[in-house]
């Protein structure tokens, strides 16, 4: 039996790689490459900035590597295990931030839109910015669902495993999330309109 090369590793499934990763760091390297971008994206959208996304992504993989020997699949595939580690770290991060309020998160998202989507019109950028703000105002679980679905492009089944729910429950949650998001956008639009009308009323007086 020979040791697989990088290309052969890439074709191995997660379970095989996890088994090898317990004794061979090269196998963990393949798992890392397979999931680093997804985990990074998840954390980036949950934190809103690259610095914390890098810091937390590094912690996720360090933790996974440290505990890979003790990891037993038992219905939670490696991908879901990684997301659960990421979810817990992000939750702790939010808890710490709520204790020491520092910088408004959406500033970062707005900056990203300006720098990474220069081809879009200012109007569209504003619309996307409002949308992201509305997403961030949703309860944590609904934000998680939208990020896993639209950013990390996971199936309902995969999301169900990560969030510990059935596929049907995920579909149902998605429906309710869209309804809540529409409502949130509506109330944001009303607020913006009310703010725009204030100066006009002031001038009339």
């Amino acid at each position: 039996m020979s040791v697989p090369n990088a290309e052969e590793w890439a074709h191995q499934d997660d379970a095989t790689l996890v088994a090898r990763a317990r004794t061979d760091p090269a196998a963990f390297g393949v798992l890392y490459e397979r999931y680093v971008q997804k985990v990074y994206n998840y954390i980036y959208y949950r934190t809103g900035n690259h610095e914390d996304a890098e810091d937390l992504t590094a912690r996720v993989f360090h933790r996974a590597m440290a505990h890979i020997k003790g990891y037993v699949e038992r219905g939670v595939p490696f991908q879901a295990w990684l997301y659960r580690i990421a979810h817990n770290l992000v939750a702790n991060w939010h808890r710490d931030r709520s204790r020491h309020k520092v910088i408004p998160l959406d500033e970062f998202v707005a900056a990203r839109l300006r720098s990474e989507m220069p081809e879009t019109s200012a109007e569209l950028r504003d619309e996307i910015e409002r949308l992201i703000q509305a997403v961030r105002a949703l309860p944590e679980e609904r934000q998680q669902l939208l990020i896993l679905k639209f950013v990390d492009q996971l199936s309902n089944q995969e999301i169900g495993v990560i969030m510990n729910r059935s596929e049907g429950a995920i579909k149902s949650l998605y429906h309710r999330t869209l309804l809540a998001l529409r409502e949130q956008l509506g109330s944001m639009a009303e607020q913006t309109q009310a703010q725009a009308e204030k100066p006009r009323k002031g001038k009339r007086r």
Binding site: A26, Y40, T57, V151, Q153
Partner: protein, 148 residues
Amino acid sequence: MRPFSDDELPEAPNSALEDWLAAHADALIRGVPFALPAEGLSEAERAEAHSLMLLASRLREGLRPVTPDAAFVARLRAELLAQAPARPALLIGWQRLPKRYKLVARIGGLTLTAGLALLAGRHVLELLLRAQRRERGKDPDLSLTAAG
């Protein structure tokens, strides 16, 4: 049993609409046109679905995946691999052996261990017998020089 929260209702209130929205989201993510007939939906549900589908399309546009900095990805990979405990060369060699070689090596190892255990056992037995003989030699009832 704890009550279900709003997001945990076991029965979907409108499963046809939910299935429809889920299929639409899947099509959006895959970048393929959505062509599921809305047969199970009422007129009101169709209007509702249309509004929510527009919102989902905006989400698809707004929640774009980002690419982490390549230097960060490479640095973290190097850190992780450097952090991994180095395995002894003998262990690596063992893991790389074909299964049948491992089996032969295990049988050989067991035979050797059993042989060593037998030798050690024999040695211990001899020592015990010698000690027992010595004890008998000291017994006054059995001594030839004992006074009668």
